[in-house]
Amino acid sequence: MSLLKSQISAHEGSFPYLPRLARIERITRLTEKERLFKIALDDKKELGHLSGQFIMLSIPGFGEAPISISSPPGRGYMFEICVRAVGNLTNALHSLTKGDMIWIRGPYGKGFPLNDIRGKDLLFIAGGIGLVPMRSLIKTVLNERPTFGKINLLYGVKSPDEILFKDEMSQWEGSGNISIHITIDKPHPEWKGHTGVVTTLMPPLKIDETKTAAIVVGPPIMYKYVIMSLGDKRISGHDIYISLERRMKCGLGKCGHCQINSIYVCQEGPVFRLSDIRYLREAI
């Protein structure tokens, strides 16, 4: 009981579910379904996030959901999220305009371990909106480009009109800092590039497995196949980082929705080192 008593007194007056007020600063339409929102926290205090972390975003009456942060750390009280309209809350968010209010809790979870990948060649592999949290890390990495080796980004989407951050990607590539390989799932009349799932981009790639870290973010179905391809390239599980998507209602390791065995993804993830969870049942 003494543990409980001290916990109560230490947190008297603190409400973990209480969000901060924020306003939409700018909306950019990226595709038919995805928009990029620049958010400003009303209290003008920093969000203080790491690449790979997420926030709980809410609109009163439409509920709350976990949303990954798409901008790199260090932009004060401003940050960006990129949201696909798929449900009640995300559709409501898409109906908002500049200056409208939203509510933010977080950041939550563990981000990408920047210190562990510094100095290495980086292989980014994104599927669909997996590019959203990855963009935060890519931009961080590009800010300190000289401390990394060769950088490749493999990006798979269903069709050409679903490609996110097109202009940004050509900037990244244009500066010669990163080589980008995009593939679409099925042939499309307007598409002249590579066709096939994202793993089909892997075989021709020259990779030094002794100094490469792979960062993988995509839909649940993608991981198994990408991990096998990375295995073919002899990249160790220790050097592979993946971000797992799960349903979340609290972000505090309580509500149970994101639980995989004894792991709470909202606390111990969403970013995991593959070697830590490769044999965790139901993870991948």
Binding site: M1, L3, L4, K5, Q7, I8, A10, H11, E12, S14, F15, P16, Y17, L18, P19, L21, S58, P60, G61, F62, G63, E64, A65, V86, G87, T90, G99, M101, W103, P219, P220, I221, E245, R246, R247, K249, C250, L252, G253, K254, C255, G256, H257, Q259, I260, N261, S262, Y264, Q267, R281, E282
Partner: protein
């Protein structure tokens, strides 16, 4: 441990006294079931020694609980927000040892990491008065080491026929007992009758697990691919009743309710259940536990393996409520014994 003797008649006086200061919740009869309910007078109490259908977790972790209130001022384009953590002084009266163990587990869960202020505030205002019990055919607390409690209560009542022998758990419990009842020090003879009751209790068990409690996490871990999951998955309705009645199931959903004039929104949490189909489904449509077999396996493992890793202690307290409630008679003790038997056959 200090023991006091209270006469049979004295208990009514004690409850009447408690009602002056606290909301009192205890076992009552409702629609033929023994459940926990609010007591208005001592005669409402139905201090049976058999298990209650519902657990007392609802008084610490309500089925529906407001977390926040948003208020719009549309003319000024402003919204105010107010956190809500409702709690009142309350006594949980007549709580059985398994449920006291369950509350101790919930305490650990809600205090872990970022503490849950709503639960902790309510817990802080709660007194627990336990009572010893006699198992029915579903109880197997003896097999999971929750048959007795040494702490986690303010007072603990032992019925010895001629009266009650009351164990003092906390100073606060002791003060309330002396404030609202006439007790005296229990005699050695009276205390020895407590042991007689415990003997009768032990003799009354029908259900039991065929392995030591400490071996259960490993047995469950080795049973991931057992055919048992498919077998019970075929008959399970996925109704989540087991989640509702379980004293250690604490998963919840967070939702918003907007009032008709849109001026006020309530954010609240409600009990959720991992047996329900959408529990692990994400916005893109992927369901991480699509089948009932997978969801049952998850729930059983939460009780015997997953939460043990995280919080220590089995999360099944052997109350048998899920078995008692299950519409298709999935029986947690029988399922566990099947897994134990399979595990014994493995090389």
């Amino acid at each position: 441990m200090e023991y006091r003797f209270l006469s049979k008649k004295g208990i009514a006086l004690f409850v009447t006294g408690l009602l002056k200061e606290f909301k009192v919740y205890g076992p009552v009869k409702k629609d033929g079931f023994s459940v926990y309910g609010e007591i208005a007078s001592p005669s409402d109490l139905n201090l049976l020694h058999t298990p209650t259908h519902l657990s007392p977790k609802q008084y610490l972790f309500p089925p529906r609980e407001t977390l926040l209130k948003f208020r719009n001022n549309n003319s000024e384009n402003k919204t105010s927000i107010e956190p809500v953590a409702e709690a009142h002084d309350q006594v949980l009266f007549g709580i059985h040892p398994c449920d006291i163990h369950a509350i101790r587990l919930l305490d650990r869960v809600f205090a872990y990491g970022t503490p849950d202020s709503n639960y902790l505030k309510r817990r802080d205002k709660t007194l627990i008065i336990g009572i010893d019990c006699i198992p029915d055919k579903h109880c197997f607390c003896r097999s999971v080491n929750t048959m007795t409690v040494e702490s986690g209560f303010d007072l603990f009542i032992n019925d010895i026929g001629a009266g009650f022998v009351i164990e003092i758990g906390t100073q606060r419990g002791k003060e309330l007992l002396s404030k609202y009842s006439k007790t005296r020090k229990a005699t050695i003879r009276e205390i020895s009758k407590v042991a007689d009751f415990k003997k009768k209790k032990i003799e009354s068990f029908v259900a039991s697990l065929n392995a030591e409690a400490s071996t259960l996490p490993l047995i469950y871990s080795g049973s991931y691919n057992s055919p048992v999951w498919e077998k019970i998955g075929k008959i399970c309705y996925g109704c989540g009743s087991c989640n509702l009645v379980c004293p250690t199931c604490y998963c919840f959903d967070v939702r918003d309710d907007i009032n008709l004039n849109t001026a006020e929104t309530e954010r609240y949490r409600v009990w959720d259940g991992c047996l329900l189909e959408d529990f692990a489904k994400v916005a893109g449509g992927h369901n991480f536990r699509k089948t009932r077999a997978e969801r049952l396996r998850h729930r059983f493992n939460r009780k015997f393996q997953y939460q043990v890793d995280k919080f220590g202690g089995l999360f099944c307290v052997g109350c048998g409520r899920c078995s008692r409630t299950c519409l298709v008679n999935i029986n947690i003790a029988e399922v566990t014994n099947e897994l134990i038997e399979e595990s014994n056959k493995r090389p």
